[in-house]
């Protein structure tokens, strides 16, 4: 019993140390954002809250276009989530259920797309979108993002579709279900949890994406959050408080999603990686 107690103590100490190291940067962002400007940027800095102020927050929200950029990010991310599910769900169903040679090749190609560095695709896609007159259009960013997020989503969904017992489909066919019904009424409802997982992971990836958004969108009103927040470095070079406030505003949505939907992410990861 005593031995377990000391072990607990060690583990608590480890956790405490790790949390300090890992969470400190986030704490620092919050601290810088909510102090009065003189306090936040003074040197030597104070490590704890000495004053509380929303002046910079107000300034950033009213004087910059951060809210528009975050809205654009939301639009793009939701668009990518929708398109990704639209493409990956049928493909994953097909790969999981129909064991034909073509599907093996398809799976291989899908996994290979995962290996392609983004920097390689950025120029060719730029030329394609230019000829389609999609430059400066958020739809180009959505399209470019799909190919980034597709492989992981398809991979996770394949695992879930494979886990549906064949007996269920057999029984449905014997009862006279058509192919369409088999997909829409049997398999699809059983994979809703997986789709939520894929949707969240895709959302994070799309929210995080910078290179495509930066190169394909030039109009300031159409910038997404990553580009907008990044532009602060150039514009307000030494105003670290403004940079931290915009960073905080921009990471608010994914942080909330992470805190409330963490179990879906964890489950997706476990399912995706525990297949053997």
């Amino acid at each position: 019993m005593q031995k377990i107690k000391t072990l607990n103590l060690y583990i608590y100490a480890m956790i405490f140390l790790m949390i300090i190291v890992i969470a400190f940067p986030l704490y620092w962002m919050v601290l810088t954002s909510f102090q009065s400007t003189t306090q936040a940027t003074s040197y030597p800095p104070s490590l704890f809250f000495k004053s509380f102020s929303l002046e910079k927050m107000k300034w950033v929200i009213t004087e910059t276009k951060i809210i528009i950029w975050i809205m654009n990010s939301l639009l793009v991310s939701l668009g990518v989530v929708f398109m990704n599910l639209l493409v990956s769900v049928p493909a994953a169903y097909s790969i999981a259920k129909f064991r034909i040679k073509f599907n093996n090749i398809l799976l291989l190609i899908v996994l290979v797309t995962q290996m392609i560095p983004q920097a390689i695709m950025v120029v060719p896609l730029f030329e394609i979108f230019k000829s389609l007159r999609l430059i400066n259009n958020l739809f180009s960013v959505i399209l470019a993002n799909i190919i980034l997020t597709l492989p992981l989503g398809t991979w996770i969904l394949i695992g879930f579709f494979e886990n549906i017992p064949t007996e269920i489909e057999e029984a449905a066919v014997i009862d006279g279900a058509s192919r369409t019904m088999l997909f829409f009424k049997i398999s699809l409802p059983l994979t809703y949890p997986a789709m939520i997982t894929v949707a969240i992971i895709t959302f994070f990836d799309a929210w995080n994406e910078y290179m495509y958004s930066y190169t394909y969108i030039h109009n300031q009103d159409k910038w997404v959050g990553t580009v907008g927040v990044a532009s602060f470095i150039g514009q307000y070079l030494t105003d670290w408080q403004a940079i931290m406030v915009s960073s905080l505003l921009f990471s608010f949505a994914p942080m909330m999603i992470y805190i409330f939907f963490r179990k879906y992410i964890v489950r997706g990861v476990s399912e995706g990686f525990s297949k053997g």
Partner: protein, 306 residues
């Protein structure tokens, strides 16, 4: 009884016929992804390869010949490999340690274990850009908090990102800080796949915890770990945003990986064809490394080895 089996096999045959009759059915489901892959992957890829062999709108090997004597490019290969190697070692270690601690704390049912896990993996939710900006602020040589904290130990104005000896290390630390939670979660999931009966048997035999870890845990999760290793390496070749914001490849090309160099050549110097040639080289490197890893790691399961 006999009748029953007849009905069963009859039903099974019906299902088999059902599957057989719909031969073109799978392609219907695949059609969307095929369009996407052709349009957003295959075409750009060939475009890139074609451009790499183009100088002044004519077929030429010029770009590749130029590459071989371009010291910036050769340097970027070296930096890329250095980054990939150190990053992979670092993130695997951090992932392992955090996963072990979380696993132990959840096993012992420590109060607050779930909240710890949430806290420890929080950087997963932070966008790359934001992570880079926070660290840029903290690592600021004159007003950053890191140098302030270190000033208790040594009086310094260390240029974490402007000193060419330190820049790569700083970039590595930030990358690992931003990305390790995924590794923690995956390794944690791997731990959970090991049957508890194995541990029980081992403790009855009197095996110490450390021994259990090396003789039971590690062998049982080796397949998942190999897969994770492969993904980590492939993904780290692609890293762009974090490096770009922290250093833009500088100082003196000390953190200029191939991804950074491609982007610079294409959008800063507008040598698109030259950038394409570098892209093709990077592609070949990633391909060769992946094939080598797939061969060398010898996955037990056929599917994971695809």
């Amino acid at each position: 009884m006999k009748l029953n089996t007849n009905i069963l096999s009859d039903c099974s045959n019906k299902y088999k016929r059902f599957i057989k009759n719909g031969k073109h059915y799978p392609y219907l489901f695949d059609s969307l992804i095929i369009v996407i892959i052709l349009f957003l992957f295959v075409y750009p890829l060939f475009y890139c390869i074609a451009k790499s062999f183009t100088v002044d709108n004519e077929f030429s090997l010029g770009n590749y010949i130029k590459l071989m004597s371009d010291s910036t490019f050769l340097n970027s290969i070296l930096i890329t490999f250095l980054y990939v190697l150190l990053y992979t070692i670092g993130i695997m270690l951090v992932g392992f340690i955090t996963a072990l601690v979380i696993d132990k704390s959840e096993q012992l049912n420590l109060p607050g274990a779930k909240i710890f896990t949430a806290f420890l993996t929080l950087p997963y939710a932070i966008p790359d850009v934001v992570a880079s900006l926070i660290w840029l602020w903290m690592l600021n040589p004159r007003r950053g908090v890191i140098n302030y904290l270190l000033s208790y130990v040594a009086n310094s104005e260390t240029g974490w990102l402007t000193n060419s000896d330190l820049a790569l290390i700083s970039v590595l630390l930030v990358s690992i800080w931003r990305l390790f939670p995924m590794h923690t979660l995956i390794i944690l999931a791997a731990f959970r796949t090991v049957p508890t009966s194995l541990y029980e048997a081992a403790s009855i035999d009197g095996a110490a915890l450390i021994k259990q870890f090396f003789y039971i845990t590690l062998p049982s999760i080796s397949n998942i770990m190999k897969f994770l290793l492969l993904l980590t390496i492939v993904w780290s070749f692609k890293r762009f945003t974090i490096i770009w914001f922290l250093t833009r490849g500088g100082p003196m090309h000390a953190t200029e990986t191939m991804s950074i160099l491609i982007f610079k050549e294409a959008f800063k110097f507008f040598n698109r064809n030259y950038a394409s040639a570098i892209s093709v080289v990077l592609l070949v490197i990633v391909g060769v490394v992946s094939i080598f890893l797939l061969r060398y790691l010898r996955f037990q399961d056929g599917k994971k080895g695809v």
